[in-house]
Symmetry: C2
């Protein structure tokens, strides 16, 4: 992706804004839908319409990463899709482990979208030994104490946390010790990690709370994210 | 933190940036933790430390909404928490319905954080009649065809969608017809809605994809969201 970044005319300065990277995922999702529906090409107008963005927005976002269009053709779906996958890193496979096999953890283990996007659920871990030794959605569940041993035999790049808030920091520390490079944290608490490990928090209650704010202020979240 | 703001002196122009509103939820979450731990007051330095933000960031964010601090005291937790709840709209109760009672829908129905934040799960709906007539996590499950009838007897303000992508738009249309003002969509597809209905999409695969991008570009998501 370094090539693409160099090649591209970065419209801003410094790192690509988070909102742009987020929209890149949305473009990829639409391109995948278009390919599934038999389309070979698309353009900024069509992508914009599908997502409620202007065509100028689409072009500006993609311009951060390179030149993807052809005059009179637009974008070739397979080419643009491949380029976005390369930028996002999902042209490679990522080994993921899950910690916490409660309701949410189980639902996440069964979530088909992860596999489709290049994420491989390698194993799950829980402190509740009545859950270990089983498989959930085809993923083996081990005792949390086995995590470091497991990490010796496998390359784990990403970890997901779906444990109660009180346990999340300790779990995060174990994942870091196990060598993960990134953590997706579903526990409703902010975890602190060494700088070398990136992390994102997804707090489902906060998502709903942000929605109630938007209802009261009657502005469309998607539009807001375009503007930000 | 006291002199940071005159009442409601918006540091920017136009609507409050989405990232600021998002951080407001994080401040509230920390304040709730502090109250639970017996603290009566806090300050921008402490809040910032807990979240990995600068104290200046905290003060600037809060300044969008008013003047909350006291000289020599900082913020009173109950007062600032109450003010943020009022801004976010969670000082009132929101009736929510869920459509889709698969793995993810079930996990969401069991998610304790919603109730704690003022969201009341009124009912769930599914087209699979083997699931209807039951309760999941204390929430009754009805046939989707009963939604409009149900809406006549209840005020539904928010809807959550946890159905497959192919069904999501039709479900969204039904929720709009039932009078919801906002939709939280977990289906991996962009839905289109009338302007009066706000919506947010949470695509779990995209969350992981954004994380892989960040790992490859080694920048902390949380830092990025502060900067954006």
């Amino acid at each position: 992706m370094t090539d693409a970044t160099k090649k591209g005319e970065n419209p801003g300065e410094g790192p690509v804004p988070k909102a742009v990277v987020n929209r890149l995922s949305l473009y990829l999702r639409e391109i995948d839908h278009l390919v599934r529906d038999g389309h070979n090409t698309t353009n900024s107008n069509q992508l914009g319409k599908l997502l409620g963005f202007t065509d100028a927005q689409v072009r500006k976002d993609l311009a951060y990463f390179g030149h993807f269009g052809y005059p009179g053709v637009g974008y070739r779906c397979d080419e643009l899709g491949g380029a976005i996958r390369k930028i996002l890193g999902t042209d490679q496979q990522w080994n993921v482990v899950m910690v916490g096999v409660g309701n949410l953890g189980r639902a996440l283990l069964g979530y088909k979208g992860f596999q489709q996007r290049g994420f491989r659920m390698l194993a799950a871990f829980d402190t509740d030994l009545s859950k270990t030794g089983t498989q959930v959605e085809g993923v083996p569940v081990y005792p949390l104490d086995n995590l470091s041993e497991f990490a010796k035999g496998h390359t784990i790049r990403l970890g997901m946390i779906a444990v109660p808030a009180t346990a999340a920091q300790a779990v995060a520390d174990r994942l870091v010790a196990a060598g993960v490079e990134g953590i997706l944290n579903f526990a409703p608490i902010t975890i602190s990690l060494p700088d070398r490990v990136v992390h994102t928090g997804v707090d489902l209650a906060i998502e709903l709370e942000q929605l109630s704010f938007s209802v009261l202020n009657r502005r469309n979240e998607d539009q807001a994210s375009v503007d930000s």
